[in-house]
Symmetry: D2
Subunit: 149 residues, 4 copies
């Protein structure tokens, strides 16, 4: 894997959190108003069939949606995923350079909507639609009992 | 984390694949005709908000759906996820014992349907609905170009 | 169709709105804390294949989710659908008595979650998961430009 | 409603089935390789809040997905909806000219994938992702007991 080059323009992501650290390295590249988020599929991402685990694909999609929606906010505010609907069109394999392309549809006061295509070259691997709740300033951290209050 | 006990009846899962190895340890416990799949939420599962990453939750749900559907087949045949729709009701946190409870709705010739609730005690964290394609014996491994052919 | 009896305990629904009037008659029956919502599949509900149209099934599911969530609120407040994820397991046919069984998972301050099974006898036709936004008292009617503000 | 003009290029759809007859009139317009499917929102499409019923929006989306996927097949074969995931971004109102714009992502042997945006002008009302099962020639009509066999 280490021999595979990183495509030009991609840089390693900085603030990721522990789960993305485990999952990564994750790379980003700005393209117009959106940010492509990518990862090289490695041995560690595979399931028992030898293809990328479904949860691995969704992890990349969820992260890419969150990263793009954060940048779409005027004022930084935390967001949590409310719904994620995902369709798996084709498998991704070891060595694939897997890119998440995000389109933000709407950022409201409480809710934000964006969708994502995971692609290997022109091949569509997964499509995802996400709904996110924007946490208000009066709720600086999601409370244990309720994150939509 | 290591001091937290594993609830009685749960045993470590054996055949998992690399991504679940990274994600786990994962535990299972048979209960009637279904298998509860569980994990202790650790530091490595968190996002930058300090709660379990959305992709982590979906990874557990997808795995639990696959494990239960495999056991529902008369003859073992590989399956791939076609659609996964997930709703995030409450956050999971470090130290939580997170259980996936699966209900199989239908196993057809080509398609199988099951749903899953992730719970911490009585608290509902995530609900997921999955559609899976059952790979035919004539397609021993999903081809690069097409897994539903 | 007119000869088919309505199962005991079901009564025609009263306040429905124009689209449900067109779609119905719709019947309800209280069972514990939830309300079963049902319709007799008629000629008018069919698609060109001679089975119930997908949109017809979703209309029943969406209505049943809304009816049950309204009753779960302490104070009546309008709600709008945010996400609806639906899986079609088997076709429904002319003459079928189609019942929607709803389970409310969570009613928060801004968001509510419930799921629904459409059944003909023991046969599962459709499963649906819904996320709804609860409109605040300060927003008596959804504004044209934004219903989540 | 009758005074509202039909935008240029749209023609009434011919073969629709009883449920779409009830729902319509429905109009289509070919644009490149895809077909826009549209309806004028009328009184009959509204719910008790005075906005288009969620089931009405999904009916249009499901129909538009089916129409476009049928045209994407080399040989005509019946299809049934397997999964439909829908997000409601803004309400549609009486008098709105509501257009469904479909993108076909993939047509396989057994499964087909397409997504749909419902729009009023530039306003995005609903996004939908659909998975469809293509019924084999050996199964000329979906059997009562199983449509994925």
């Amino acid at each position: 894997m280490t021999a595979d080059p990183i495509p030009p323009g991609f840089v390693p992501i900085s603030r990721t959190g522990p789960f993305l650290d485990l999952f990564g390295p994750v790379y980003t590249k700005d393209e117009g108003s959106s940010t492509i988020v990518a990862v090289r599929v490695g041995d560690k991402h595979l399931n028992t069939l030898g293809i990328a685990h479904g949860g691995m694909l969704v992890t990349l999609a969820d992260s890419a949606l969150g990263i793009n929606l954060s940048r779409a906010l005027d004022v930084p505010r935390p967001m949590v995923t409310v719904n994620l609907s995902t369709d798996f069109l084709q498998p991704a394999r070891r060595g694939d350079w897997l890119e998440a392309h995000v389109q933000v549809q709407r950022v409201g006061v409480h809710l934000a909507f964006a969708s994502c295509h995971l692609k290997v070259g022109d091949r569509l691997i997964l499509r995802a639609s996400g709904v996110f709740a924007i946490i208000g300033p009066e709720v600086p951290l999601p409370a244990r009992e309720d994150f939509d209050g």
